[in-house]
């Protein structure tokens, strides 16, 4: 092709080719930065955690039941933090699963178009509110409210931030579930209606089973979100590592511990400083696990149709 070009315009074409290459290279570098960031996250967490595990055995880290790195006699057992994290995520899920599922079923199968168009922006706004504001809400509105029903509830507890995180992730769980339900082919619904089923029967017995793996994925993604949530628990759960399964007690999550240490004045390179990277690595692994699980569930969904 190059031979066929008239020689007069060749220099110009050549110049243009160079510019094209340069632009493409720049755009490519921008895209590759995503890979660089991921790599950097893993490298930083692993290197700093490595320093931590030189002092603390992995066995102690995983089995000790006390987490007191900042005390005179430090103990480094991740279990209390893990427990607090899963407990608050559990409470959140307890709220978000039924609500998210109902929202998704309603918006996907029942709501008139106009209602859906009005409600969805509101839900998106709920998602956009900064988490520190939710923390304020949990500590100074929801906890006093709950204290009316649970008399001995302390001012810091896991229940209230858990509930607030749950409401916070409802739009997310709802929209992922709704996407799964909308992906169910209309032919299935029509077949069900043709057999004389009502809307509710169609929803519960046809759409929900067909979208089951997508709905399950939305729950798993919800747990991942709740696990990584920081400010609400840091503000309202009390920041005390506590190996308990009672949501009425105060506790600390992995994220709240990182915030607590960062607010203090730990010298760079000390074991307390390294401990937040070890905690962060555990957090990253947990969220990664949940996300892979959700991905597999969704892949199953795609196979079906």
């Amino acid at each position: 092709m190059a031979l066929a070009r008239p020689s007069l315009i060749r220099p110009r074409v050549h110049h243009r080719d160079v510019k094209e290459r340069v632009v493409e290279a720049i755009l490519f570098l921008c895209a590759v930065s995503a890979v660089a960031v991921t790599t950097a996250i893993v490298v930083v967490l692993v290197i700093e955690s490595f320093g931590f595990f030189l002092h603390v055995s992995v066995w102690e880290f995983l089995t000790d039941t006390m987490w007191t790195p900042l005390f005179a006699e430090p103990r480094y057992g991740i279990l209390p933090l893990l427990c607090g994290t899963l407990l608050s995520a559990g409470v959140a899920l307890f709220v978000a699963v039924p609500l998210g599922l109902m929202v998704a079923l309603y918006l996907s199968e029942f709501a008139p178009v106009r209602v859906r168009e009005t409600v969805k922006p509101f839900l998106e706004m709920l998602e956009g509110i900064p988490t520190v504001v939710y923390g304020y809400f949990a500590l100074l509105f929801v906890t006093p409210l709950l204290q009316n029903f649970i008399p001995n509830l302390p001012g810091f507890n896991v229940l209230s931030p858990g509930i607030v995180i749950g409401i916070m992730i409802v739009p997310y769980v709802g929209s992922v579930s709704e996407d799964a339900m909308r992906a169910v082919p209309n032919a299935l619904r029509e077949a069900s209606y043709a057999c004389g089923a009502t809307r509710l029967q169609t929803t519960l017995r046809v759409v929900m089973p067909a979208a089951a793996s997508g709905i399950a994925a939305s729950f798993v993604l919800g747990i991942a979100r709740a696990t990584g949530e920081t400010m609400v628990v840091a503000i309202a759960a009390g920041q005390q590592p506590n190996l308990t399964f009672d949501p009425r007690e105060p506790a600390a999550t992995i994220t709240a511990y990182i915030v607590q240490v960062a607010l203090g004045d730990l010298p760079h390179g000390s074991i307390g400083y390294q401990s937040i990277f070890a905690a962060g690595l555990v957090l990253l692994l947990i969220t990664l696990l949940f996300n892979v699980l959700a991905h597999l569930l969704r892949a199953r969904l795609r196979e079906a149709y």
């Binding site: 930083v44 609500l99 929202v103 409600v119 998106e124 900064p130 009502t198 400010m231 994220t255 915030v259």
Partner: protein, 318 residues
């Protein structure tokens, strides 16, 4: 035999029809019940939004005086203000936007318009979707290890801006890709047909059409960054700052200075967190007032983004 059976069936028919009718009526009632419950579940979100906002306003609106916006934080709650916080937020967001937006939009354009189908592209795509799932505090840890100590940027506005830029990158990449993908192929083919190069097609035809979609993603990303607290606490933002960073503009040549990039900082959500963590209702009122400012900022930004998308969906019929 058959005739007997038929006769029996015919005699029973009215009874059956009645039974079917009540059955259908009952099921219809359940439909209605479910619709009402669904509506209630959906409105929990709206009710929470309203309760949260009313709570903030009741607690904090009396603190929203001009002094509040032009005072530094103070040990006396009644004299404290958010001057250093909002200036910090503006400067950090400036860095985030200048670095994060071009990077993310370029990445989105590359993936949609340029990327060949190979393992490299697949790797990039997997990484982008993974980054979207990484908890924000992990970005803070990355920034603490990489920017603050390894690269020596310190606990500065620059580190904070870079951290948030990385965090919002996946949001903007996804929005850019969707916007670019929505441009019909006929537009590209028409441009190629008259001899345009790939970059000319992208710059002069694809980008102008996808600007509203990209802008929606950018605004949502920046709104997320404005409210983000955890990663900035992790890199060591200060919670009590009674000075402003060096001014970016000076009266002596060269008139523009970048010293502020290296300055310590605080931002609105961190100031709010600081006030919430203190005992006593006086500081809580300050926290609520700061909360009103943050919520209004993010609501206006998100509202604008939603409006843009709505308009986009209505206006464009290819």
């Amino acid at each position: 035999m058959t005739s007997v059976a038929q006769r029996l069936a015919l005699e029973a028919l009215p009874q059956y029809t009645a039974e079917v009718r009540t059955n259908v009526a009952r099921r219809r009632r359940w439909d209605l019940v479910f619709a009402v419950v669904g509506l209630l579940a959906t409105s929990v979100g709206v009710v929470t939004l309203v309760a949260l906002f009313v709570d903030l306003i009741l607690d904090g609106y009396h603190r929203l005086t001009p002094d509040f916006f032009f005072s530094f934080p103070s040990r006396r709650a009644a004299e404290a203000g958010i001057l250093s916080a909002w200036v910090g937020t503006c400067l950090v967001m400036f860095v985030t936007a200048v670095i994060g937006v071009p990077l993310a939009v370029s990445a989105g354009i590359y993936l949609e318009e340029y990327a060949p189908r190979n393992w490299m592209t697949a790797l990039i795509e997997i990484n982008v979707s993974n980054l979207a799932a990484v908890p924000s505090i992990v970005y803070g840890l990355l920034a603490l290890g990489l920017f603050v100590y390894t690269l020596g940027f310190g606990q500065s506005i620059l580190s904070a801006g870079l951290t948030l830029a990385m965090m919002i990158m996946p949001i903007i990449v996804v929005a850019t890709r969707e916007a670019v993908r929505a441009v019909p192929h006929s537009i590209r083919e028409a441009a190629y047909a008259v001899g345009a190069t790939r970059w000319q097609v992208t710059r002069d035809h694809v980008l102008p059409y996808s600007i509203p979609g990209i802008a929606t993603g950018v605004i949502i990303g920046l709104a997320r960054a404005i409210g983000e607290t955890a990663p900035l606490i992790t890199i060591g933002a200060l919670t009590f700052i009674a000075y402003l960073p060096d001014s970016p503009i000076s009266t002596t040549p060269p008139f523009v200075s970048f010293d502020w990039l290296w300055s310590g900082f605080t931002v609105l959500p961190i100031q709010m967190f600081n006030w919430v963590s203190r005992p006593g209702t006086a500081f809580h009122a300050n926290a609520a007032a700061a909360g009103i400012v943050i919520v209004l900022l993010t609501l206006v930004m998100n509202g604008f983004a939603i409006y843009l998308r709505y308009r986009l969906r209505r206006r464009i019929n290819w």
